[in-house]
């Protein structure tokens, strides 16, 4: 007797967000990319359409980052120049988009002015054709000024700007609304706050199709399963009709993976762990690989070898047999 596979029937689907505007759409990007739109759990093509593949954004900082040796070695001198760095990410390393982190704005660091930060963004926009994600340094007060300036200067480019948090979202929402950008809504590994923040943002008349959820994650070995379960729960809610959880997901993979000791510790200190220049990218790639299975739509990554491995993995997962 033939076995009949039971298929889930979902009541709803994940919304889509469009990143980047081409000339015809009022921007200057050479491509605009769509994320989200899943009608089933990740890569369950037999149960529902997975119309858009997860994207890999490569991280570029506006000041030279203090990253572990394996990253510095592979990235080389371009880390001193965000424009050259972004170009190389797109042209050589296959980045779908660029994730610009304006660490230079940090008042305790380079303390760059909002104008300087906006100029960096504009310069990167001029150098590459892919859409941009731009986030501040993490200093709440300073980020207000910086992100408002960036939003204004890049009006119409349909950037993805971050990050909005439950206690601090209004000015960024207003800046995105007024200049046609989308927003990253970040919640600290908490599905209830995630949903509430999306409600608060949509109450300011931000359309749901301009919100991307950053659920916050942990790297492999440091609680990734907790992030995974939050993402999975949110995605199940979305597919069952919860509109306030039905946004695409962005994950700061590079940041979390390279915080892991297994990624950054030197071979001298841990000879048994194997060569550092393989271990680090493997750690990052494995973190990303787990998170695409949980429903990640945008992966922010650092190491070219990890990016290459993850893109190949995504190609395979997107094959429909």
């Amino acid at each position: 007797m033939a076995v009949q596979l039971l298929k889930e029937r979902y009541a709803s689907e994940v919304g889509t967000v469009v990143l980047g505007a081409t000339k015809e759409q009022g921007g200057t990007r050479s491509v605009s990319l769509t994320v989200g739109g899943e009608k089933a759990l990740p890569f369950q093509h037999y149960e529902g359409e997975i119309p858009n593949r997860p994207l890999v954004a490569m991280e570029v900082t506006d000041v030279e980052p203090n990253w572990p040796a394996p990253l510095k070695e592979v990235l080389g001198d371009v880390v001193k120049d965000p424009v050259a760095w972004a170009k190389k990410c797109v042209e050589e390393w296959g980045a779908d988009l660029i994730y610009v982190k304006l660490d230079g704005a940090d008042p305790d660091g380079a303390n760059k002015s909002p104008e300087e930060c906006a100029k960096t963004v504009k310069d990167i926009l001029a150098a590459v054709g892919v859409p941009l994600i731009v986030v501040g340094s993490g200093d709440v007060e300073k980020d207000h000024e910086v992100m408002v300036k960036v939003a204004e200067e890049a009006a119409g480019e349909k950037l993805l700007l971050g990050v909005a948090e439950q206690e601090n979202y209004k000015s960024l929402v207003a800046a995105c609304l007024g200049n046609g950008h989308s927003i990253i809504a970040r919640s600290p590994l908490d599905i209830n706050i995630c949903k509430q923040l999306n409600i608060l943002i949509t109450e300011m008349n931000m359309p749901a199709d301009r919100i991307v959820i950053d659920p916050m994650i942990a790297g492999l070995g440091y609680g990734i399963e907790y992030g995974y379960s939050i993402m999975e729960r949110g995605r199940m809610g979305a597919l069952q009709g919860d509109k306030m959880l039905a946004m695409p997901l962005i994950c700061t993979v590079g940041f979390e993976a390279w915080r892991a000791k297994e990624a950054w510790a030197s071979e001298n200190d841990f000879p048994g762990w194997g060569p550092q220049n393989e271990r680090g990218p493997a750690w990052e790639a494995m973190t990303a690989g787990a998170l695409v299975q949980a429903g990640a739509d945008i992966l922010c990554m650092r190491h070219p070898a990890a990016v290459k491995a993850v893109k190949k993995n995504i190609d395979q997962l997107m094959e429909r047999k």
Binding site: R9, I191, N192, K195, I199, G234, D242, K243, M244, L245
Partner: protein, 262 residues
């Protein structure tokens, strides 16, 4: 929890009058008001006084859809009226209702499949409404078998175990809860369940208290939908709370608001 707004029913004086005079205003006002209250579907019933129920139903469906995009629940014992209404519905509708009687099943289920409609199946037959849960579930099983036979997806079958007023048939009230619980085991995926909630409080004082208390109890037993007063704020807040407490929807601080606006 699906709330089916009960108010556009010819049994209510203003609607009965409006249907008779073909005055769309009261129907359209109630459609908008119930949607604002948080209704997910709107029940549409010509009422017993309507002479030509086919024409009455068609007119009601049309005027309600002019102002409201909620899906409709076509409520009539006249299946020609329901079929005429289904032809006009812009969104997949629900048929209210079909008892566990063979000739009616043969009329209703194929019509539902043809129009991609859901069916409310009543646990009663020619002999009336059973006294206990066991016999209600036996009739529910006949409806489940019919869904299978005619190709109606099980999720589109809503079993109504028929609640009676607490001041008339008090012993039925817990039996209905037990029936809701047991109906969920009849198939996998399980059929859905629905109640004509306000019936439990007929002719009692403080009806909203009985309605919302029973709603919470029934939801804990697995109730999926209720034909109810969508403008009873306390009732809607109870439904929203019960949904969160049963882990059916993900909690957030604005959960009541979300329940009403989804």
């Amino acid at each position: 929890m699906i709330i089916i707004g009960e108010r556009i029913n010819g049994m209510f004086k203003d609607i009965g009058q409006a249907v008779k005079e073909r005055d769309p205003k009261p129907l359209q006002e109630w459609a908008i008001k119930q949607k604002e209250g948080g209704a997910h579907y709107l029940d549409i019933n010509t009422g017993p006084a309507c002479e030509d129920r086919v024409a009455g139903m068609k007119w009601m469906v049309e005027v309600v859809q002019e102002v409201c995009d909620l899906p409709l629940v076509l409520d009539s014992t006249n299946y020609d009226a329901i079929e005429a209404g289904l032809e006009l519905c812009k969104k997949p509708a629900m048929i209210n209702s079909c008892p566990a009687e063979r000739p009616k099943i043969e009329r209703v289920f194929p019509m539902a499949v043809k129009h991609n409609a859901k069916v409310i199946g009543l646990t009663m037959n020619e002999k009336g409404i059973p006294k206990n849960a066991e016999n209600r579930v036996a009739l529910a099983m006949e409806l489940v078998a019919a869904a299978d036979e005619f190709g109606l997806p099980m999720e589109d079958l809503f079993i109504d175990p028929l609640i009676l007023p607490v001041n008339v048939a008090q012993d039925h009230v817990p039996e209905v809860l037990e029936a809701i619980r047991q109906v969920k085991f009849l198939a996998d995926p399980a059929p859905k369940t629905v109640l004509g909630l306000s019936n439990v409080s007929q002719k009692s004082p403080d009806r909203p208290l009985l309605n919302r208390t029973y709603l919470a109890m029934a939801m804990a037993c697995g109730l999926d939908a209720a034909i109810a007063d969508a403008n009873d704020d306390a009732l809607m807040e109870t439904a929203a709370s019960a949904e969160v407490l049963l882990n059916q929807s993900i909690y957030c601080d604005s959960y009541v608001k979300v329940f009403r606006t989804r």
